[in-house]
Symmetry: C2
Subunit: 312 residues, 2 copies
């Protein structure tokens, strides 16, 4: 039998990479032949995490149907965020914490989504339900996922379940949440040394919203000027992607992880929808999005609703 | 706060009605204000079940957005099988055991699907995970759901998890599975006294398959001639529904629950797809579908695949 491949979304972040590794670990302990893979390069935050806990990165793949018939998705379900040939394989399981959209199967499957801050919080439940103990380094990856997705428990996506989970897991991993968390976030938030073309792809996700094709990218910064000082170069890069992919909107969000605000740079034919959604004025194509730190909770739903009936 | 409404699919069967009642019972014990409702008339099998365990039927509703903003779906997710105004409310949870299709949310939700024979089997897990005890009559409804969906454990949809669940639940409900199960199935399988226009709607579900709009109805029979003796009247009724709903195919399946076979009556512009899917010849618009008893496992996936690239 072919191995079932387990993977998260394109432009992988820490939760997507770690959840693939963690769920593969659980499945193997249950006797299921699986392998964790990834659909893109590791970001610096995730590199820090894997290095810290001495865990090997999942193998990079371009396509999946050339090596398996069955896959398990973690941390995503929308097909445009998944493997390019996702329609050629059977999705047998999904473990996720996002909305469900652009996802369809021809037969029944195991689908476990919960409205929590992080996939790892759901995976902790699965370990418990199956009665499997969690090893130190696996717990470390799960702690890191929760820190990353909830910005050290400060994001509005963070739930009491995530808080309880990280406490339990930090004890197994033997890390101090605050101390380790700041180290980890800072490793990912030094943007000055990153090229603009790297930044725009670091954590970009594509969405179909009403009749519009939308890309929303987010980067975490200690100092937002690390990116915004290079706005002209940034806009050139966004325009190129808009043209290449036929996008109607590219919203590039720079999140200030210390002050919990974001600056949005919006380009494309329906950039005005950002003004309507947040009741702001785009000046020089950008606007402060006060208190916005979560793409999932504070950007995707409001942009989806705004674009449902939007006329440019 | 409005009550969250919990309901199963249109043309409700025993699992859909009982799962709404059972999950509402669990939610209320957890302190969540909910009410089970239903989207259609009870079938004779379900009437037998509610009568046997002395449980009141959920309230019949036409629409849901007039009384609540939030709903929980059990035993279905596809919007054409749900409330007519499902797009006007927020789906906060889904507990299901079917494929996922025509389902989309703007935000995260709790979604629990497992590839088991019956929603009740998943609900048993939820009671355990929450540490809530199951009362006798609630266990009785869950036993009935499993019997109904698995045709007394004989359907290929039945899994070891369903078998374990029904044993555990039958002890709480204090019923003999075989004895009670046959009584229950027979109560639903006496089709001679049913009018044709009742039979075609009893358990009909609509699907989008490729470019085609498909209705698949299934009835369980002790004696298939109870229906097939009235084929002319049946076809007139199917043709009327095809015209009214603009269907490309109506597949009406009469399942012989004693011999575990079915007869399919197929009408519509792509009725030929049934011949292709099962390698049979429709004679007088009908064909024996040897060993087919499960719409979910033996009809929907194969018809979906066949119609994906089908030319009439």
């Amino acid at each position: 039998m072919d191995k079932t491949l387990i993977f998260g979304h394109k432009n992988p972040d820490t939760d997507t990479i770690c959840s693939a590794i963690v769920y593969a670990d659980l499945k193997r302990q249950l006797g299921v032949p699986v392998e964790a893979v990834r659909l893109g390069s590791l970001n610096p935050e995730t590199e820090f995490v894997l290095d810290y806990f001495k865990v090997e990165a999942p193998r990079l793949v371009e396509t999946v149907s050339n090596e398996t018939k069955q896959v398990i998705l973690v941390d995503h379900n929308e097909r445009q965020q998944s493997a390019n040939d996702i329609d050629q394989v059977q999705v047998v399981e999904v473990i996720d914490h996002h909305r469900i959209a652009n996802f369809e199967t021809s037969g029944p499957l195991y689908y476990r989504a919960e409205p929590v801050g992080c996939t790892a919080t759901i995976l902790l439940k699965l370990f418990k339900e199956k009665g499997v103990a969690i090893r130190k380094e696996i717990a470390g990856l799960m702690v890191s996922s929760i820190i990353s997705d909830t910005l050290l428990l400060k994001s509005p996506t963070c739930t009491p379940e995530d808080e309880a989970a990280i406490k339990e897991l930090a004890e197994i991993a033997r890390v101090d949440i605050q101390d380790y968390g700041l180290q980890m976030l800072k490793a990912g938030a030094n943007l000055r040394d990153k090229r603009i073309d790297e930044l725009v792809n670091l954590d970009a996700k594509e969405f179909q919203m009403g009749n519009y094709k939308v890309m929303i990218a987010q980067v975490n910064a200690i100092d937002t000027s690390d990116v915004l000082d290079r706005q002209a170069e940034l806009e050139a890069s966004l325009k190129q992607i808009i043209a290449d992919k036929g996008l109607d909107l590219f919203l590039f969000v720079v999140t200030d992880i210390l002050n919990s605000d974001s600056v949005g740079v919006a380009l494309g034919s329906v950039a005005g929808a950002v003004e309507k959604a947040y009741n702001v004025k785009l000046e020089n194509n950008k606007a402060l999005l006060k208190g916005v730190v979560s793409r999932k909770k504070q950007i995707v739903p409001i942009m989806t609703d705004t674009l449902a009936n939007y006329q440019a």
